[in-house]
């Protein structure tokens, strides 16, 4: 997987400079006029040197840098300039992921035959963006998204920086840890521990990082080592797909909500399949009898239109709510839609085949060693505070067929016919 990151630093400022070249070399503050109430949206490096920062009030900015040129924020103009930039990049690859204003990830694997070596590819990308938008551009090319972005940020104006596969860690090791996507608290703790560079951080043992900084630290540790498996999510082409179901009588049974949520998600997935799309985000919204709404979202590890993955995410979301009242409406939404990559469909469902193989293997084990030689784990409550209440172990026992059916008037349902639930309580 090869990623290119295309960056126009200080994008709004460059758009303003493009329209008024006299701003070149001057201190510029974008956000409004100094007497207006508002905050600084963007600053030029010249104003930055005077102490002006993004987010501070315009009045403060004027006090710090009275000679600066103050301009109003023209977000519509910046958005259309960014759209021009995206259109200039589209001929290279269909997998384009906008990253803020002025940054774009491109999946550029397998383009050597068309553009030659990576340096040449980077030059072609830069020329295309410059030719279309007349904006200065930096390009970073590497094996992961994070390294590619840092390569673009650390390059000089107009430079193309290519990080060869396997050299990511060496490239990153002297750079400050503040470039890693970590929170303020983690950054402060790293500072206290005297860890300043990514090289120092990446040389720590993973167990220590996990114990000290948790999952956030582990992710940052992998990035500092140049390991980044995240993929480019194709550009969103349409808004989220969503469906709502209104209950005639408000319900409070979880099973009913699960069934309705599943049906809605399957209907939405059908729409996605028809358009060849995948989604990166799943959301469930409940409307209570009182009129209040509660919403939960989950991000998929990678964009997908797989029924099993989406169904599981929806099921987990429905069970994660803290139900305050009876539910009068349920809405399922699939967001971050993108065009899916083609893949070979399986003639047979691999999941069914796998299940059959497991069943056959279990039957053989039971025949050989008896029914009590293994247990099957079943999830009970994902959010239970005690670990032992999150699941139950099921003892495999006699199959259902061993319980002869009684006559209609005598018939009872053998609830624990196949499995006996062993609860850890």
């Amino acid at each position: 997987m090869k990623i290119a990151y295309v960056l126009v630093p200080h994008f709004p400022l460059e758009v303003e400079k493009r329209e008024d070249p006299s701003l070149e070399g001057r201190a510029v503050v974008i956000g409004g006029l100094p007497h207006e109430r508002g905050n600084v949206y963007e600053v030029s490096p010249e104003a930055l040197e005077q102490g002006v920062e993004v987010g501070m009030s315009l009045r403060q900015a004027e006090e710090l840098c009275p000679e600066a040129v103050f301009l109003p924020t023209r977000e519509g103009r910046y958005a259309s300039a960014f759209e021009e930039m995206l259109m200039a990049l589209e001929p290279f690859t269909p997998l384009i992921e906008p990253h803020g204003l002025g940054g774009v990830y491109l999946e550029v694997s397998g383009l050597q035959r068309l553009y030659g070596p990576d340096e040449r590819l980077g030059e072609s990308i830069a020329e295309s963006v410059k030719g279309t938008t007349r904006l200065p551009v930096r390009v970073g090319i590497a094996r992961g998204k994070f390294t590619a972005r840092i390569a673009a940020m650390e390059g000089d104006w107009g430079d193309i920086q290519v990080i060869a596969p396997g050299k990511e860690r060496r490239f990153l090791k002297k750079l400050p840890v503040s470039l890693l996507p970590i929170g303020e608290e983690t950054r402060g703790r790293l500072h206290l521990l005297g860890i300043r560079t990514m090289g120092q951080f990446s040389s720590l043992p993973i167990s220590a990082v996990l114990a000290q900084f948790g999952l956030e630290g582990r992710r940052a540790h992998q990035l500092a080592r140049g390991k980044d498996g995240s993929k480019v999510i194709g550009r969103t082409t349409r808004g989220p797909q969503e469906l709502e179901f209104r209950f005639e009588d408000p319900v409070e049974e979880m099973q009913i909500l699960q069934v309705v949520a599943k049906q809605l998600s399957m209907e939405l997935l059908g729409r996605l399949h028809r358009c060849g799309q995948v989604c990166g985000r799943v959301g469930v919204t409940l409307q209570y009898d009182t009129g209040e709404e509660e919403e939960e979202h989950a991000a998929l590890s990678e964009p997908s239109s797989d029924e099993y993955k989406i169904g599981l995410a929806v099921e987990r979301l429905v069970s994660s709510f803290h139900y305050q009242d009876r539910v009068s409406a349920l809405r399922v939404s699939l967001g971050q839609l993108a065009q899916g990559k083609g893949h070979q469909l399986s003639l047979f469902s691999t999941r069914t085949l796998r299940k059959r193989r497991i069943d056959r293997a279990l039957a053989n084990i039971v025949d050989k060693y008896g029914a009590h030689c293994f247990l099957q784990a079943q999830l009970l409550d994902l959010h239970a505070p005690l670990l032992e209440r999150r699941f139950a172990l099921l003892h495999h026992e006699a199959p259902v067929e061993r319980f002869p059916l009684k006559r209609d008037h005598e018939q009872t349902i053998p609830t624990s016919a196949k499995y006996r639930v062993h609860e850890w309580r």
Binding site: S207, A208, L210, A211, Q212, G214, P385, L386, L387, E388, L393, W424
Partner: protein, 84 residues
Amino acid sequence: MSRLYQPAQSIESTSGDRGQPLSFEWRGEVHRVLHLGNRWRVHLDWWRVEIWREYFQVEAHTGFTCVIYRDLLTQEWYLERVYD
């Protein structure tokens, strides 16, 4: 991957002045606590059979990483999860 012991394994442990484990013995080996990760309490079912525990995610000097807890009702220590 981690291995969950159910029921949790009883262990001998020494604790510091703030209740944190300093060392513990498991399967004949004494593990000195090097790092304390997460620390949390669970208080449940006080109206039924009360459960009151204080959990610690610990890394020992031997590299052994696990989750142990102290039953705050009986002051006994247990090992519940071992990380690979």
